[in-house]
């Protein structure tokens, strides 16, 4: 059966209303996640698991506060619900998920959903909060006023799920379409009707949904600028403008009409539906007394961040060792079973080393996603954003950018993907542009090798090892660079209004283990898929470039010197010499485009030292310290040169995998190329100043 012939139901609701929990309860494990083509909005689909219902699909729409299509999430939700997307069938039934704890605000979207003219079931979720507060909700009254079935439930505990399922069964067998409940101001009834007629005759919406859509066109700024209106824009514009003029004449703002009308209905309905709250502080209020306290807030945030980092690095170590062991065994197996030669080398040095070098970060990435999911699901993310919003705002970013930037400390790939939490396009782009400046885990092996080689191991103030201080400095430098770059871009190429959207501070809730595991699993699969495809391909290419052309008689350690990459390194030496790099460092740097830590194994190859574990490089360090400058006879790897190498790694976009993800998330080669260019230029410029300046001062 064609997907478009299968009945679909859509689940819509505010963010944090428990939509996903209900979706999971209805679909079980039979669900899949993909992207809506052309936008970075996730599409969650599943097959309904309800007895007596066969082959009904469910779509979990992105969480939205309003149906007016402005942000990507809203555009997708709006278009799916109205059957305007070619990739998604129009739903027959809408489940409007409502958080009973923030009933008034949730009902705004609910009344918008009623205006679509489709059968609607209200899932009145989180009833436990009302019970806790001693607030009584008259469900029968709410049903009567909205004109649709209302199912009270606490989905996180499975309460109300059977009732919701039977409501869906009833609705599928005898669908009752809804109608909008609000009163449209008399002054615009006539133009709205004309606008609605135009929309129907142009084939944009069904007759039942037309008035609601017309109202949205009137109340939303630039509503006609969407490409889909191209053919009818000139016919619709005078009607929209006429309506706006009429509204202004009655001393109202045109953009306020819908909100006023809907909240007028809600205000009138509430007293009969919801009882008074008995004073009893919620857990949220008690937690927030500390977690968003002017002093306790930042302190607890710093503590949480630190705790997460320590856990990521500590807990991930064991599975990371396993992965390294597995790839090591795999390489051994290849060596014993595949005859020595190019094929064996390709498998061991290209495929296994390349893919293994990236996959080794999987445990860290999984843990990172696990912690992020806890913060998201519990409602803490919004508090972190609240605490940091002022600082982020000064460089043109939203408080929500905290999550992507924080993630980038483990790996820029999840960081760039996490930027999806930012609604405003300009803010999201700015965040993506600076995310790779955060010190990712793959930079550590490079810093450890170089700092261990060139920085004397002396104690500062008697107890702080100097190499550790230098490492800390590199991490901080990345953050400083990110702030500076953001400030510059915000005033130049990414000028434009920073989002000043209100940020919702939802109630805290217990994270659901199912959701956590689910998120972790989904992200990991994405990452593994990438390692198996793009990264695999790049590893093979890098291997070929560092190995060919080759003659059988060339010893392995000299191969790289005569390879394409080696020759290329020598060609570009004039470009990198001014920053203190010779062709060897250049080749190692180029090869680390696969993953920054590959720098270590490439240096080992070039200098003919065996390094099995990139974190244990004592032999290589000793070898590097022996290296002499052919002209002066003094040590080649001086502290100044080492610092330049580290600085280059702090600032440059030395990671093809991140570029691939940036390309996908921005949908633009232009921005991807720009990012690579600006980071490389920045790295080169800073290293140039440091190297030349240092030498002028006689340090080099």
């Amino acid at each position: 059966m064609n997907e478009f012939e299968i009945p679909h139901i859509a689940i819509a609701g505010n963010p944090n209303s428990g939509k996903s929990t209900i979706f999971n309860a209805l679909t079980g494990l039979r669900q899949k996640v993909s992207n809506y083509p052309g936008v970075t909005v996730e599409k969650h689909e599943g097959v309904l698991q309800v007895e007596g219902i066969e082959e009904v699909h469910a779509i979990d729409l992105p969480g939205i506060y309003s149906l007016n299509p402005r942000s990507m999430d809203e555009v997708v939700a709006h278009d799916v619900l109205l059957g305007m997307r070619k990739d998604t069938p129009e739903p027959q039934i809408i489940i409007a998920v409502v958080d009973a704890g923030t009933l008034e605000r949730n009902l705004f979207l609910t009344t918008q959903l009623l205006s679509l003219g489709k059968p609607v079931i209200v899932a009145l979720n989180m009833m436990d909060v009302c019970q806790h507060l001693g607030v009584n909700i008259d469900v029968a009254q709410l049903e009567r006023r909205l004109g649709v079935p209302v199912v009270p439930m606490t989905a996180s505990r499975g309460k109300g799920i059977p009732e919701l399922k039977s409501a869906i069964r009833n609705m599928l067998s005898s669908p009752t379409p809804t109608r909008d409940v609000i009163e449209i101001p008399p002054a615009i009834i006539e133009p709205i009707t004309r606008l609605a007629d135009e929309l129907v005759s142009a084939g944009f919406v069904h007759a039942e949904a037309a008035r609601g859509e017309a109202l949205r066109l009137i109340c939303t700024q630039d509503s006609l600028s969407r490409p889909r209106y191209n053919p009818v824009r000139e016919r619709l514009r005078p009607l929209v403008e006429d309506s706006r003029t009429r509204i202004e004449q009655s001393e109202l703002s045109w953009y306020a009409v819908e909100a006023k009308a809907r909240y007028a209905f809600i205000d009138q309905l509430m007293p009969g539906v919801r009882g008074e709250r008995r004073h009893q502080p919620l857990l949220t209020e008690r937690l927030d007394a500390f977690l968003t306290h002017p002093v306790g807030g930042p302190l607890s945030l710093a503590f949480i961040v630190l705790l997460i980092f320590i856990s990521i690095f500590k807990l991930a170590q064991i599975p990371m060792d396993w992965i390294e062991t597995i790839f090591g065994l795999l390489a051994e197996w290849v060596i014993t079973h595949v005859p020595a030669g190019p094929i064996q080398d390709l498998l061991t040095e290209g495929v296994i080393a390349g893919v293994g070098g990236v996959l080794v970060f999987l445990p860290q990435i999984m843990l990172l996603f696990f912690f992020i999911a806890i913060m998201e699901d519990s409602g803490y993310t919004a508090r972190a954003a609240f605490i940091l919003d002022h600082w982020m705002g000064r460089v043109g970013m939203h408080g929500k950018a905290f999550i992507p930037l924080f993630s980038s400390f483990a790996c820029a790939i999840p960081g760039v993907m996490a930027a999806r939490v930012i609604d405003n396009e300009k803010d999201r782009l700015l965040t993506i542009m600076i995310a790779p400046l955060m010190c990712c885990a793959a930079r550590w092996p490079v810093y450890l090798l170089i700092a261990g080689t060139v920085i004397p191991n002396v104690a500062v103030l008697g107890f702080l090892p100097l190499p550790a201080l230098v490492l800390g400095g590199m991490v901080i430098l990345g953050v400083v660079a990110a702030i500076a770059v953001a400030a510059v871009f915000n005033r130049t190429i990414l000028k434009g209004k920073t989002t000043t959207l209100p940020l919702d501070l939802p109630r805290y809730r217990r994270p659901q283990i199912r959701t956590l595991l689910h998120v972790m699993w989904e992200r990991s699969v994405l990452f593994i898929k990438k390692a198996g495809t793009v990264i695999l391909a790049m590893s093979i290419i890098m291997w070929a470039l560092t190995n060919y052309p080759r003659k059988p008689e060339t010893p392995a350690e000299e191969r790289i010197q005569h390879s394409i990459a080696g020759n290329f390194g020598k060609i570009i030496e004039p470009v990198i010499a001014p920053i203190g790099f010779d062709w060897r460092i250049g080749v190692a740097t180029l090869s680390s485009l696969v993953a920054r830590e590959v720098f270590v194994s490439s240096m080992a190859t070039i200098y003919g030292v065996e390094v099995a574990d990139p974190h244990k490089t004592a032999d290589l360090q000793a070898r590097l310290r022996e290296e002499r400058d052919p002209k002066t006879g003094k040590p080649f790897f001086t502290p100044l040169r080492g610092i330049c190498i580290m600085l280059f790694y702090v600032l440059s976009m030395q990671c093809l995998s991140t570029l691939v993800v940036v390309r996908r998330e921005t949908g633009s080669w232009k921005w991807t190329g720009f990012q690579w260019l600006y980071m490389t230029a920045l790295a080169w410029g800073v290293c140039f100043i440091v190297w030349q300046g240092g030498r002028w001062l006689g340090w080099g």
Binding site: N68, E104, R105, Y255, G393
Partner: protein
């Protein structure tokens, strides 16, 4: 005497007020109104973030964080 306007920004934590007008560009005003802050609604300032910006407010059953630059543009009437 100049008719001094009270804005949401000038309220102290714990104070409630009634929203008079949102002197903001249409898109931003529409957002805030959709989230409950329509003229006539009651809003309570709950707390300020470190450095006094943004502020946490309670409006129509929801907790929101808004920046001072926005709160400054919302005129209110002490209830």
């Amino acid at each position: 005497m100049e008719n001094a306007k009270i804005t949401l920004e000038s309220l102290a934590p714990g104070q409630s007020a009634r929203v008079l007008a949102l002197e903001l560009p249409p898109a931003e005003a529409q957002r805030l109104m959709e989230m409950g802050m329509t003229p006539g609604s009651t809003v309570k300032v709950l707390k300020r973030a470190p450095l006094g910006d943004p502020i946490e407010i309670f409006v129509r059953s929801g907790h929101l964080s808004i920046r001072n630059s926005i709160a400054r543009a919302i005129t209110v009437n002490l209830a």
